[in-house]
Structures are given as C-alpha cells and as structure tokens.
C-alpha cells in the first residue's frame, strides 16, 4: 500500500480511528456473545446436575 493511501488525503487521524473502533466493537460483540453463551451453558449444566442429584 502506498503512503498516500495511509495518509487518506490528510484525514488519516480521523478515518483510521473510526475503522479501528469498528474492529473493536465487532470483536467485543463476538467476545461478549461467546462469553454469555458459555456462561449460560455452564449454568444450565449445573442446574441439570443439581436436579439429577436431588432425584437420587
């Protein structure tokens, strides 16, 4: 990539942080959704295990 591309016509300090923030927001969404799902699975597994132990 040429230096002109990265310079963005003198607006690099405004353009690139916007795209960087978009990457951060996307990454946060994936991380937090995965974490939320994993926690819900763990809680459900624990609830099932407790129900099983109560039956026995």
């Amino acid at each position: 990539m040429s230096a002109g591309f990265w310079a963005m016509g003198g607006y690099a300090r405004y353009v690139w942080p916007c795209f960087a923030l978009a990457v951060v927001i996307f990454a946060w969404n994936v991380w937090s959704a995965r974490r939320y799902y994993a926690a819900a699975r763990r809680r459900a597994a624990r609830a099932l295990a407790m129900a099983d132990s109560e039956k026995q």
Binding site: F5, M8, G9, G10, Y11, Y14, V15, P17, C18, F19, L21, A22, I25, F26, W28, N29, V30, S32, A33, R34, Y36, Y37, A38, A39, A40, R41, R43, A44, A45, A47, L48, A51
Partner: protein, 245 residues
C-alpha cells in the same frame, strides 16, 4: 405458513435454528464486509468536497442504520411478547439490546470523528446527534431495567419491553430530524424515494457494508439468543440434550 409462525414461539426450535444460522451469517458477513472495505477504502474515489474524510461513511452510516434497526426489532419483539405472551420475544429483545447499544456507540463516535474536520467540532447539540444520543440512553435504560429486576425476571422483561415500546417514538425523530429541523447533519442521500444522490462507485461498497453489518448482527444475535434461551429454559427437558451436544 401459520404452523411455521407458531414454531417461532418454540424455544428449542429457535435455539436450533439460531445454531444453524450462525455459520451462514458469519460467512456471508465476511464476504460482504471484505467487498465493502476494499471498495470503500481503495476503489471509491475521494469526495469532491470532503476528500478522503468521506470514507468514514462506510462505518458511520451502517452503524447508525443498525442502531435504529436493532432498536425497532427490540421494540417489536417486546410488543409481541407483551401482547401475545410469547416468551421468546423477551429473549430476542434482551439479546438485541447490547448489540444495538454497541452500534449506537460506534455511530456516535464515528459521527463525532467525521464532524471535527467537516464542521469544525466533535459535538454539537444538533437534532440528529441529540436524538441518536437519546437512543443510546434508551438502550442503557432497557438493559438497566432488566438488570435491576434480575430476581424477578418476568417483571424486568415487562418493564424493559414497555420502555422499548415507548422509546420507539425516537426512531422517526432520528430519521426525520434532518428534514424537520435546521441541522448541521446532511440530509439523506441513500434512503431517498427515487434515485439516491450518491455516486454508484461509492454507493455499492456502502450497501455491501450495510449488508455485512446486518449479517454480523444476525450472527451475534443468534449466539446471544442461544444463551438467553438456555438461561430462561434451564429447567426444561430439551435443554439436557442441548447442553450435552
């Protein structure tokens, strides 16, 4: 048709459908975002007035559209849950809120970054900017209500649904603020009746980015929705198979 519609109220059906959709949404999102990024950053010509600063449009506009779309979806899901007592509606609304809030933050910050070189300021109490900020507060309010009533889940769901329905009045205000009031913000150039006033080589990457944001939203929503359903249905028999798989 109705049978399929009724199936949408079934947690195991929605859970399994969400799981099946995630890889499709993710793959198509990567393609659309890749096309949009290359088209928008490399091939689209600089704007004749704004130069390369206009390229912020490729993250700002899709995130702003998604912030409004997410809120509308959250309100519709909440209304369905309240009117027809379909529990899955509350799960959809709860899963949508944090994603919508994150897109609203992105829209506000990128708008601010775009405003500095174009308007000479990061922030102005302009109708469009202010109504978008109110949207962020509405998202926070909806999420806080759910957290506040954590011990009494159904009550928190109802309160959050009510707030999201009342707050939906803000969506047309955001959209038409640039028409109804004098605004620093430019008027619509894509979502216009008739022909968009944006050059096609700039427009196509923007539409691809919008599609990519939409598909990404779909993938993350499905994953969050799976978590919501598991949390709400953990006493149900079908969850045993879902957790073991």
């Amino acid at each position: 048709m109705w049978k399929w519609f009724y199936k949408l109220a079934s947690p195991p059906f929605v859970y399994n459908t969400a799981a099946a959709l995630i890889p499709w949404f993710t793959s198509f999102a990567v393609v659309a975002l890749g096309y949009g990024l290359v088209g928008g950053l490399v091939f689209a010509p600089p704007d004749y007035q704004q130069g390369d600063a206009f390229r912020i449009i490729y993250v700002h506009v899709p995130s702003a559209w998604m912030s409004e779309f997410s809120y509308t979806l959250m309100a519709v899901a909440g209304a369905i849950a309240l009117i027809w007592r379909i529990k899955i509606g509350h799960a959809v609304a709860a899963a949508t809120a944090p994603i919508g809030a994150s897109f609203t933050v992105l829209a506000l910050v990128t708008g601010s970054m775009w405003g500095r070189p174009m308007w000479g300021t990061y922030w102005a109490w302009d109708p469009r900017l202010t109504s978008e900020l109110i949207l962020l507060f509405l998202y926070f309010g909806v999420m806080s209500l759910r957290t506040a009533f954590e011990e009494d889940g159904p009550r928190g769901d109802r309160a959050a649904a009510l707030l999201s329905i009342v707050g939906v009045v803000n969506i047309p205000i955001i959209h038409y603020s640039v028409v109804w009031w004098n605004s620093l913000h430019q008027a619509a150039s894509v979502a216009k009746f008739g022909k968009p006033t944006i050059e096609p080589s700039m427009l196509w990457p923007l539409l691809a980015m919008f599609l990519g944001f939409m598909l990404f939203f779909g993938a993350v929503l499905c994953l969050r929705l799976q978590g919501e359903i598991l949390g709400r249905e953990r006493q149900s028999a079908w969850v045993r198979d879902a957790v073991k798989s």
